[in-house]
Amino acid sequence: MTHLDRLEASSVHIFREAYREFKNLVMLWSIGKDSTVLLWLARKAFFGHVPFPLMHIDTAFKIPEMIAYRDKMALEWRLDLIVGQNRAALAAQSTFPAGKLTRVECCRALKSEALKHSLSGEWPRLRMDHTAGRLMEDLKPEAFTGVIVGARADEEGSRSKERYFSARDQQSEWDVGDQPPELWKQYKTDFAPGTHVRIHPLLDWTELNIWEYIERENIPIIPLYFDRGTGRRYRSLGCYPCTSDVESTAKNVAEIVAELRTGKFADIAERSGREQDKEDAGGLETLRRGGYM
């Protein structure tokens, strides 16, 4: 087996374990490369099927191409897509782009809060109606307690300490010091009622592994990652006010892999284009403790 084979098998194992142990399972889908690989791995685990819904948190500031791509893929692969949003904050213009919040506060409102209340079913959500071919109000918003997330350990310090199965209490808080042991493919799958669990099948993957796998499996990926003639491309996707593209002429997956292996990005952090990380010393850690993905 190659290293990618081993990564794939271990992610598949985690998916199946989650599916076996959790009744109210959902997978987060951010349209980016990681969560698209995550989606592909779900199809690997379940032999072409995705037997649970996908949730996208739409901050309303996503690069428009991402939304179009999301809806196209959902229809094509017949995905049970759910879309959540902090409608109140957007209506009140209580955001960073409107000048009312810092970047970190804005992430908390439009992502963490929106996610928390969309998962619980308290806030209204949209759901893909495959007969109508578009998103409609989700009339029966159920609560999800098991959430599959595409976090990778190599992204930054706090993610390197995650478990494959990671419990959050009712306030979505994460106690880094007191995490359950994981050994011999045995994870913590027993929980007190009301506990929320994050499941991380991609924890052991690096950015390079992700691109090598996209190349090997020929996984369709949003073209924002490629240079389309401007000499610039996105390396990491987020909200447009806080994500900048990078200078690169990689036009396809093979060129991205080459660039990561030996080229200019071999030693530059992937999230260097994400502004909220720089705002306070442990910016992302602060966010993650409060439920950020």
């Binding site: 087996m1 190659t2 290293h3 084979d5 081993r6 794939e8 098998a9 271990s10 598949v12 194992h13 199946r16 374990e17 599916y19 076996r20 199809r43 690997k44 685990a45 379940f46 032999f47 072409g48 099927h49 037997p51 350990a153 190599d154 930054e156 310090g157 706090s158 390197s160 300490k161 478990r163 880094v176 010091g177 995490q179 359950p180 042991p181 994981e182 050994l183 011999w184 493919k185 045995q186 913590k188 027993d190 929980f191 007190a192 052991d204 690096t206 499996e217 030693d267 530059i268 952090a269 260097s272 010393a281 442990g282 850690e285």
Partner: protein, 598 residues
């Protein structure tokens, strides 16, 4: 560069400098993302603290404040030879479960010992944990050599003492390396400070570690994780899935499921978006379709016919490490996870408790406290299949869940003799103590006009079982018999209301139902109940609990039992009248009810 990547764990006592050595390794292999070093240095300046390499890893706020590693952190780097994942495991005893998490992910270990402080409690405990986790490749870094002026004798003393300790665990370290995380000696390059040292540098040593050997040549073992049928999505395949622990299998091979003993043959190996596969081996997570439709459950082992089979037993001797806050005690129900199996488990005997730092036996203890290592006998209510670690390491491992947490981890040493299960012991003791009624059974039967019986309906569909059971109650009552129906629901809501949902309570419900049956049949009644989704052992448990009184089992629908034969099988769920008629005639045959037609 090889297309391989291996994981190495860094272990050792708290403050012996693991994170510093890793920080240094990352810096010297140019593995740090641009800006990371500057960012951490800036944070140090802001907080008026001297920069340390350890801060690169201890990226979390708590850890920087306390200067200790709390959780196992992963980082990634590469040498000219290959890529690495380096796992920094915490050295503080409070975080031992985090150390174990880190070490169980690794294929080799670097154990750091402070040259000045010498071997400490957790140097040894970590050594012991590694041997138990099955981690055999180890190099010892004698760190902070700068603090002992690079003294060769100090290094040699540690080497001798620690080698002796590891030898007792069956670990022969690949190297002892004198290093300085602060100064950099012998980490990436040979240190001029230790001219007397001729062994490998840390980088050379990790490049010398080997990947774990493939276990594809061992007997085939697949823990059945799940059985899928995505009929709603228009897919009719019935797919048995799991991650192959050991061995190799091919299309056409005969397979046996254990402990049920069911057999079939591999029809196809399923894998999404890949070439058609004829074989699959250790490490892969494919799916299998079988040539015959057999009823198997998640938790069984799929093994290859003709290969040495796993052991099957309700009792096994285990070397167990306990991490739970509450001690492990006898007669409490815990949850066992072994391969894909999840089932209740009890501690029946504590053989020895070992001090993992001294390898000496602790005086006779009857419970296992946090951080103890003990040899124990565990018992499951139903037979479990497993291998002993001497045969196959991967399939002889288990964890114990207490109060929703993984609290124990162990390796199976041997099946234990189960002369008498705890249930059998209980029943024997109960019957010795039982005060029989002053009214003889026969007298009661003639007064009531019928004998006593515990009648159990079983059906996959709960509602169907209940309908039959209630119909029988009505029929018998109309015939003036003392018959009483009690559903599981009434037991769980009432008698069992005090049970706290720490573990799967089903076995407790079954037990109390059985005890109730013993009392009600003693009173001369025909006690009727219905239970859904039972297996062989549930019924044997009820039978045992109701003994010495009589039981009658009636199964409705398709056979789900491995070996158990119910007294009566009703094929069709539809025809209630015929079904009840059959039950009544069986009761007549057994002389429970009298035949008025004669």
């Amino acid at each position: 560069m090889d297309d391989e990547q291996i994981s190495i764990v860094m272990a050792g006592h708290v403050d012996h400098g693991k994170s510093t050595v890793i920080g240094r390794l990352l810096a010297e292999t140019n593995a740090l993302p641009k800006g990371k070093l500057e960012q951490v240095q800036a944070t140090c300046r802001r907080n008026a603290r001297p920069f340390e390499y350890a801060f690169l890893l201890d990226a979390l706020k708590d850890e920087q404040a306390q200067g200790i590693t709390i959780d196992a952190a992963r980082c990634f780097f590469r040498t000219a030879k290959r890529r690495y994942t380096l796992i920094d495991a915490p050295g503080h005893i409070e975080f031992l479960k985090n150390m174990i998490t880190g070490a169980s992910r690794a294929e080799a270990a670097l154990l750091v010992i402070d040259a000045k402080e010498g071997i400490r409690e957790n140097s040894k405990r970590h050594g012991y944990m590694m041997s138990m986790l099955g981690l055999r490749q180890l190099a010892v870094l004698v760190n902070k050599m700068d603090l002992v002026a690079y003294d060769r004798d100090a290094f040699e003393r540690i080497r001798e003492d620690f080698s002796r300790f590891l030898e007792r665990l069956g670990i022969r370290p690949e190297a002892f390396i004198p290093v300085s995380g602060m100064g950099g000696a012998n980490i990436a390059a040979r240190g001029p400070e230790t001219p007397w040292y001729t062994g490998p540098t840390v980088l050379e040593q990790i490049d010398a570690f080997r990947r774990a050997e493939s276990s594809a040549t061992l007997p085939f073992r697949l823990p059945v994780q799940d059985i899928y049928k995505f009929t709603a999505q228009g897919d009719d395949r019935r797919i048995v899935t799991g991650t192959i622990e050991t061995g190799t299998i091919a299309v056409g091979d005969g397979v046996v499921f254990l402990p049920s003993g069911k057999t079939s043959r591999v029809k196809s190996i399923e894998y999404f978006n890949g070439p058609v596969k004829r074989t699959a081996s250790a490490g892969e997570a494919p799916g299998f379709t079988l040539e015959t439709q057999i009823y198997v459950k998640p938790g069984e082992w799929m093994v290859k016919a003709g290969e040495p089979p796993p052991r099957v037993s309700t009792r096994f001797r285990v070397n167990l490490f306990w991490m739970g806050r509450a001690p492990m005690v006898r007669d409490k129900a815990y949850k066992l996870k072994l391969g894909a199996l999840r089932c209740p488990v009890k501690l029946v005997e504590v053989l020895t408790v070992l001090d993992a730092t001294e390898l000496t036996t602790v005086a006779n203890k009857q419970q296992i406290d946090r951080h103890d290592v003990a040899e124990v006998v565990l018992e499951t209510p139903k037979p479990a299949a497993f291998d002993v670690v001497a045969d196959i390491e991967q399939t002889g491992r288990l964890v114990i869940v207490d109060n929703n947490e993984i609290a124990g981890a162990g390796i199976i040493l041997a099946p234990a003799d189960a002369a008498e299960s705890t249930l059998q012991q209980h029943i024997r003791a109960r019957e010795i103590a039982w005060k029989s009624s002053a009214i003889a059974r026969g007298d009661r039967a003639s007064a009531y006009g019928h004998g006593a019986k515990f009648v159990v309906f079983t059906c996959a569909d709960e509602a169907v079982g209940e309908t039959f059971a209630r119909a029988l109650e009505r029929t018998l009552f109309a015939m003036n018999y003392k018959a009483y129906y009690l559903g599981m629901e009434n037991v769980t809501r009432g008698l069992d209301a005090d049970l706290r949902a720490a573990n799967d309570l089903r076995d407790d419900h079954i037990r109390r139902l059985g005890e109730l049956a013993r009392i009600l049949t003693d009173s001369g009644q025909i006690f009727i109940t219905s239970v859904a989704n039972v297996d062989d052992y549930d019924l044997k448990t009820l039978e045992l609990l109701n003994s010495p009184n009589e039981i009658m089992t009636i199964h409705i629908g398709q056979n789900v039992f491995d070996a158990f034969t119910p007294n009566l099988r009703i094929e069709s769920c539809e025809d209630l009248a015929t079904g009840i008629g059959a039950v009544c005639s069986l009761l007549r045959k057994k002389k429970v009810i009298l035949d008025y037609e004669i």
